[in-house]
C-alpha cells in the first residue's frame, strides 16, 4: 500500500546555516513516526515544511498522492494535515470553545448546528469541556497543550504533526494525553511525533527517525535505536 506521506530529499538552510541536508522518509496510514534528536537538527523545520509554513530549498512532500511542496498552509490543512506547536499558541482572546469552533468551521461561511456539536465533542475528548467558556489565555500550560491537540483535531486530519506535545506535562496529564493519542491512532490517525523522551516514543511510535547534528539521520524501531544507545531518556 502506498504510504500516506512521502518526504523526499528535503533540504533547507537559514541565513547560511544548513539545517536539513536531504532528509527522506515516509509515513504509512495509521502509523506513528517519532522524530528525535538533538536541538537544532531540524525536527521542527521538517514539520514546518510539511504543513507549509516554510518552503524547502529542495525536495518534495507528497501527501496521499498530492504534492504539498508549493501549496500554502491553509490548503494543506484542508487536505488533512493538522499541526500543534512546540510552545502552545492558543488564540488567547477567543474562548476555548471558539478556538476549536473556528477550526471546525474553517471551510464554511456560515455556522451549522453540527459545527457547535462537533466542537463540543472534541473538547470533551481532550477533557476541556469544563473550561469551554474560559478565555484561552487563562488555561494552564498542560491544558493549553490539550487545546492545541483539540484545535488540530478539529480540521479532521488524517496526519497529525505533534511538536513535543508532552513537554512540561504532569504525570497525570501525560497519561491522559497518551491515552488520547493512542486512541486516535487506533482509529486510524497517522502521526509524526517530535519528542526527546524514549519513554514516550516507546509507547507511541511505530518507527523513529533520529536526526543528528551532522545532518545525517537514522531510522528504526524504538527498540532498535534504544538498543544502540542512540535514544536518550
Amino acid at each position: 500500500m502506498e504510504p500516506l506521506l512521502v518526504v523526499s530529499r528535503l533540504t533547507k538552510g537559514f541565513d547560511g546555516v544548513q539545517v536539513l541536508h536531504g532528509v527522506s522518509f515516509s509515513v504509512g496510514a495509521g502509523e506513528v513516526l517519532g522524530l528525535a534528536g538533538p536541538n537544532g537538527t531540524g525536527k521542527t523545520t521538517i514539520l514546518n515544511i510539511i504543513c507549509g509554513l516554510v518552503r524547502p530549498d529542495a525536495g518534495a512532500v507528497i501527501f496521499d498522492g498530492q504534492d504539498l511542496t508549493e501549496l500554502p498552509p491553509h490548503r494543506i490543512a484542508a487536505l488533512g494535515v493538522g499541526r500543534t506547536f512546540q510552545l502552545p499558541r492558543p488564540l488567547r482572546e477567543l474562548t476555548v470553545f471558539e478556538n476549536v469552533l473556528v477550526a471546525v468551521a474553517a471551510g464554511r461561511g456560515v455556522l451549522r448546528a453540527r459545527d457547535r456539536a462537533k466542537a463540543r465533542e472534541i473538547l470533551a475528548r481532550v477533557g476541556l469541556s469544563d473550561r469551554e467558556l474560559w478565555p484561552a489565555g487563562r488555561l494552564s500550560s498542560g491544558a493549553m497543550r490539550r487545546l492545541e491537540v483539540a484545535r488540530a483535531l478539529a480540521t479532521c486530519p488524517r496526519l497529525l504533526l505533534l511538536d513535543e506535545p508532552f513537554a512540561a506535562l504532569s504525570i497525570k496529564e501525560e497519561r491522559e494525553l497518551m491515552a488520547l493519542l493512542k486512541s486516535l491512532n487506533r482509529q486510524g490517525l497517522a502521526m509524526i511525533l517530535v519528542s526527546h523522551s524514549r519513554r514516550i516514543l516507546r509507547q507511541l511510535a511505530h518507527r523513529v527517525l533520529l536526526t543528528t547534528a551532522e545532518g545525517t539521520f537514522r531510522e528504526g524501531t524504538p527498540g532498535e535505536l534504544l538498543a544502540d544507545g542512540e535514544l536518550e531518556t
Partner: protein, 305 residues
Amino acid sequence: MNRAAVLAFVLVVSLLAVVPWLTTDRFLLNLLILANIYTIYVLGWDFLGGLAGHSNGGHALSFGGAAYLSGLLTLAGCPAWTIPALSLFGITLVGALLGWLFRRLDGAYLLLATLAVAEVAHELSLALGFTTPEGYTIGGEGGLPVAPLLAREADWFYGCLFWISLFFLALTVLVLYWIRCSLPGLKIKALAQDAVVAQTVGLNPDRFRVATFAAGTLVGGLAGVLYAQYMGVATPSTLSLEFSFVAMTVSIAGGKGTIIGPAVLSYLLNVLLGWLWVAPVVRLLLYSSVAILAARWFFGRGREA
C-alpha cells in the same frame, strides 16, 4: 452578541431620529450630520484596524478618495444620481487592490505603506488643479465641486441629510457588529491574533486581507460620499494625515474592534468639540494626547492587548 448594547443603541438612534422634528436649528443639525458621517468613517478603521488587526495608516484615502471620485465624476459630466454608487464602488476597488498589494505587510510597515499612499493622494489633490477660462479654480486648495442629489438651498436639506446619514450610521453599526459576532468575525479575529495558527487550521489569510480592506474602505468611502453630498465639495483636507490619525485614535481609545465603543466615543467627541467650537489646534492636541494615553492604557507593559 451583547443584546443590551444593541438594544440601547437602537433606542438612542430612535431618539436621535426625532431631532429634526423638534428643531430646525442649522447649527445643531450640522453638528449631528457631521457626527454621523465622521462616526461612520471611524467605524471603517475600527473594522479593518481594530477587529482585523491591519493597521491602516491612510484611512483618509477611503473618505477623501470617495469624495474626490464624486468630484471627478461630476467633472466628467456623469449623471448626478449615479455618482454616489460609482464613487463607492470605485474606492472599494482601490481598497481591495491596496489590501492585495500590501498583503505581506503587517504592523508598522503596513501602517507606513498605507500612510504613504494616502499622502500621495493628498499631495496630488493639492498639486493638481487648473483655472478655467472664466477664472474658476478647479482642484488644488479649493477642491472639486460635487453634483448634489438634494438641493442644498431647500429648507428640508439639513433634516433630510440628517436622516440619511443617521440611517447609514445605524446600518453600519448593526452590520459591522453583526459580522463581528458571527463566524466570519470569528475567523477575522483568529487571523488577527495569530495568522500562523489560523492558517494551519485552514483559514486563507490573503482572501481575508482583501475582504477586510475592501470592507473597511467601503465604510470609510460611504462616509466620504455622504460628506461630498452634504458639503457639495471635495477638499484636500479630507485626504490629510491628521484625518487618518483621528480615525486610529478614536478607534483605539474607544476600544478597538468593539464597533460600539468607538461609535459612541466618536459621536460624543464630535458633538462636544463641535458644540464648544474647539479650534483645530486644540482638537489635535487633544486627539494626540488621547492616543498616547490610550495606547499606554490598552497596550502598556503588563497588559495583554
